[in-house]
Assembly symmetry: C2
Homo-oligomer: 137 residues x 2
């Protein structure tokens, strides 16, 4: 197999690169996860996003439990060849394990007192589906 394109990725010492995943319709950034060589190869071969789970130390076919797979529309690589960007169709419209569309549901809100760089994170996006419903077997 001609997989020389995989060698052009600047894998870090731990063999991983960050992978940003964006909804191709809405443009929302859904998730940032990690890929090793095998995850990127499987993503290209199957047309569905695969990542490396750093916590579980195993390959992770996104949606394998929830059914919320990510159908890949394009795979891009940045100028330093060390970050991957996927454009996907997010099946079910839910990418986050909390039941939200995107993992980036916390927004920084500055202090209303105008104190410089004071503020807080506020969860501003709705939970679309109870995680208990998503992950029950």
């Amino acid at each position: 197999m001609n997989d020389s394109w995989l060698n052009k990725v600047n894998w870090a010492q731990d063999g991983l690169v960050p992978a940003v995943t964006q909804d191709s319709a809405s443009g929302r950034v859904l998730t940032v996860a990690w890929m090793n060589r095998e995850a990127l190869k499987l993503t290209a071969a199957t047309g569905e996003a695969h990542y490396w789970s750093r916590s579980r130390k195993k390959l992770w076919h996104k949606g394998e439990e929830s059914g919320h797979v990510q159908k890949v529309k394009s795979i891009r690589l940045d100028c330093d060849q060390d970050v991957v960007l996927l454009e996907v169709e997010q099946v079910g419209g839910i990418a986050c394990h909390t039941g939200r569309e995107s993992c980036f549901f916390n927004r920084y809100e500055p202090d209303t007192t105008g104190e410089t760089a004071g503020g807080e994170w506020v969860a501003i996006d709705p939970v679309l589906k109870d995680p208990k419903e998503i992950y029950r077997k």
Copy 2:
């Protein structure tokens, strides 16, 4: 200063988190860089994106040389509190040091022979301005 919101970020052992930066108008992902606590604090305080340059080992006010600063519209944090997402207005319309709009100008093109997971990266986005013009003093 009430900077307890900075403590809620799960800074990695090296004190950094990835920061994805997206154009608020086009939705394009422009850059992925790294932030330490000081970079995030300065980003919030000044309204312009600041990062930590891992190669130069110093704080980096994006656009300090090129003038292509990023005016921050929102700052978000993901469910694991270990990735930051900025929505910005990209001054000059160029985020990449190669003179392109986005750093993600390489797209994976599968082999036309249909070989599984064979293919190549192709630079598909135009250079909008010669880097020599951008960075001359």
